[in-house]
């Protein structure tokens, strides 16, 4: 088990270095930050001076090496636009994105799994048909449209929820939380819902089809033949067997919730990393962009490690292979 975790951590490190390298290699192609910083009427000597100060006049491979060796230490330099340390900027923005993603993920799982189970067990009932129809909408509508529609209905027309920002936050020193105030919760509803809907419908449909699959298996038939109650058969035996694929997809989806909060954050002006990234792109703020990419890669790597560990928790067949063989994967 320990060997497995160590190996996965080593793999994770390789992935991160690879992502950092790709991010670094992209630099010369994303645009020239000087033009954005100094404006159109800058004098040539100003441009030369700034170029030198930022180290952009050095050969590409030197810049790349410099970036990579710093990135490995978790140091991404100064934001070109804001002049602040990238790590500080991310520290400010990260809580907003993580809180949003967390609430969205809980919403997607908490509603998606029970709805999927229901749709499988009561196949053909009115409510199941309704779920399936709505889920089709959820899967096919683009996120920004859902966000705008929600704003139109719940902010503009009904006036129930605010349409932008994080509301009142509490500073815990290392973390600013919007989840500790009423106002914060009020603000998170619409963006979290927007972010959750696609994942929710995906999980709903996945759980339903997996559940239907499992309900057809011999061991479910045999469980019924043993006279177990429906509850034991459905929730004790069937649900647990649907979990492995659900965990896989959910893991990937939670990763995408964090990575692709960009759109939702833009629609709702949510002060998170996604919004920061979009702004960085428009200013060719290379250090911020590369730090964001590496951070997202880090999340994916962590999540996939957690997913792998959950497999072992759920499925004894995998546990035994590890315990018995000790190697191989």
């Amino acid at each position: 088990m320990l060997a497995f975790i160590l190996r996965r951590i080593f793999q994770a490190a390789v992935v991160l270095v690879a992502v950092a390298s790709i991010a670094g290699l992209l630099f010369p192609y994303v645009g020239d930050p000087i033009g954005c910083l100094l404006g159109q009427d800058a004098r040539p000597d100003q441009i030369r001076e700034l170029r030198g100060a930022l180290g952009l006049d050095r050969p590409f491979y030197v810049q790349f090496w410099h970036f990579l060796s710093n990135a490995v230490q978790g140091e991404f330099g100064l934001s070109l636009r804001q002049g602040a340390k990238v790590s500080r900027l991310i520290g400010e923005r990260l809580p907003a994105t993580l809180e949003l993603s967390f609430v969205a993920a809980i919403l997607a799982l908490g509603a998606g799994i029970p709805m999927g189970v229901y749709a499988a067990l009561r196949r053909g009932s009115f409510l199941s048909q309704l779920f399936m129809t709505l889920s089709l909408l959820g899967v096919s509508l683009p996120v920004f449209l859902i966000g705008i529609l929600l704003i139109l209905v719940f902010s503009v027309t009904l006036g129930w929820f605010p349409s932008f920002g994080r509301g009142q936050t509490v500073d815990l020193g290392w973390w600013t939380s919007g989840l500790l105030t009423r106002d914060g919760w009020h603000h998170i509803v619409l963006p979290a819902l927007t972010l959750a809907i696609f994942q929710l419908t995906l999980i709903l449909r996945l759980v339903r089809s997996e559940m239907l699959e499992v309900l057809r298996t011999d061991y479910i038939k045999f469980a019924r033949a043993r006279g177990l109650t429906n509850r034991a058969v459905h929730f004790g035996h069937a649900l647990k067997n649907t979990l492995v694929p659900v965990i896989t997809i959910t893991g990937v989806q939670v990763g995408s919730i964090i990575a692709f909060a960009v759109i939702t954050e833009t629609v709702f002006q949510w002060p998170g990393m996604g919004l920061m990234f979009i702004q960085a792109v428009s200013y060719a703020d290379i250090p911020v962009m590369s730090a964001y990419l590496v951070l997202v890669a880090l999340f994916f790597v962590i999540i996939s490690l957690v997913v792998d560990l959950l497999y072992y928790l759920v499925d004894p067949r995998l546990r035994m292979q590890r315990g018995g063989g000790g190697h191989g994967r």
Partner: protein, 329 residues
């Protein structure tokens, strides 16, 4: 002997787009207390479906369209689902064909046993565990106490079928419906499992409905045998009589096609043609197109079970009344 289980004129329908097919048509038989009834026939003859109907687990769209199933003289086929569930496992146990897929892969065999025992018997966790270990010993799992916490995939096919038998016997049912319990096992294991099943049922006084297409197994195990053909019982009687002196031409053909060591035949005798598909069962006796002794009447009138020496056969050869009378009646 008062019958433990009685089937009266069972009809099982399969609704399809092109009309309703009769999968089982007017099947009646009884199983006495502690008796082993073998049910043989080709694939599609309706044996497994009849077995599924007895444990109340017909898979939709199959449905019980007529007839009665009585356990101890009381109808069970019209019980509400939860009442029928209480009978499954407690009064009627079941064993399915494939031991590899009959057990839930995610739970230990001990858990599955305890769960079954506690569903039907008023035992605490400790007592149920003790009983489970006892059952495992009884079905011949070596080191039962240690293997209690093992998962299904840690057992071989034969061992798993032993676990399945333990599960079927968990609440000491009075009847076990075994649907091809040895088909998926290799030959040497088959014999062990059949011997085990026979011994356990004799010790516990459990009646067995043994569905198989292996005449050898039937000859060795059953007290009586029912031969099914195209959804009906072709012949039923004491096993010795049916094997030695079959009365229905189909049974004669079936017995003739079993090779025996002393045979000097070049070719095994076989029955020409194939069993008709559900949609195209001919009028009259379903066997008439293949029957070597077919008569005019067989193409028109459908024979019911008639007394034929020591057995009963659904064949006009054994009609004591003249063809003309029957046609008018």
């Amino acid at each position: 002997m008062k019958p433990l289980l009685e089937l009266r004129h069972i009809r099982i329908e399969l609704p399809t787009r092109r009309g309703t097919l009769l999968a089982v048509d007017d099947v009646s038989f009884t199983i006495g207390e502690g008796e082993v009834l073998g049910v043989v026939g080709e694939s599609g003859a309706g044996k497994s479906i009849t077995a599924a109907a007895i444990i109340g687990l017909l898979e939709p769209p199959l449905r019980l369209a007529g007839g009665e199933i009585l356990l101890d003289g009381a109808r069970i086929d019209n019980l509400p689902p939860d009442a029928f569930r209480r009978i499954r496992g407690k009064q009627i146990g079941a064993i399915f064909q494939d031991p590899l897929t009959s057990l839930n892969p995610l739970y230990t065999i001990g858990r599955q046993l305890v769960e079954t025992i506690r569903t039907h018997l008023p035992l605490g966790d400790k007592a149920a565990t003790a009983r489970a270990v006892e059952l495992l010993q009884e079905v011949g799992i070596p080191g039962a106490a240690e293997r209690f916490n093992a998962y299904p995939h840690q057992f071989s096919g034969g061992m798993r079928q032993r676990v399945v038998i333990a599960l079927a016997l968990a609440a000491n049912p009075r009847l076990i419906v075994a649907d091809e319990p040895t088909t998926a096992l290799d030959v040497s294991t088959q014999a062990q499992i059949i011997a085990l099943l026979k011994r356990l049922c004799r010790d516990h006084g459990t009646a067995v409905m043994l569905v198989t297409h292996d005449m050898g197994v039937i000859a060795e195990t059953a007290d009586r045998v029912a031969v099914m053909y195209a959804g009906r019982v072709a012949e039923i009687g004491p096993v010795r009589q049916v094997v030695k002196h079959p009365q229905h031409p189909y049974t004669v053909g079936l017995m003739g096609s079993i090779p025996s060591i002393g045979d000097t035949l070049e070719r095994l005798p076989q029955i020409d043609g194939a069993m008709p598909r559900l949609g195209s069962i001919p009028p009259g006796c379903a066997f008439n197109p293949r029957c070597p002794k077919v008569m005019e009447r067989c193409r028109v009138d459908r024979p019911d079970l008639l007394k034929a020496h020591a057995t009963e056969a659904a064949c006009w050869l054994h009609a004591s009344i003249s063809p003309g009378e029957a046609a008018r009646g």
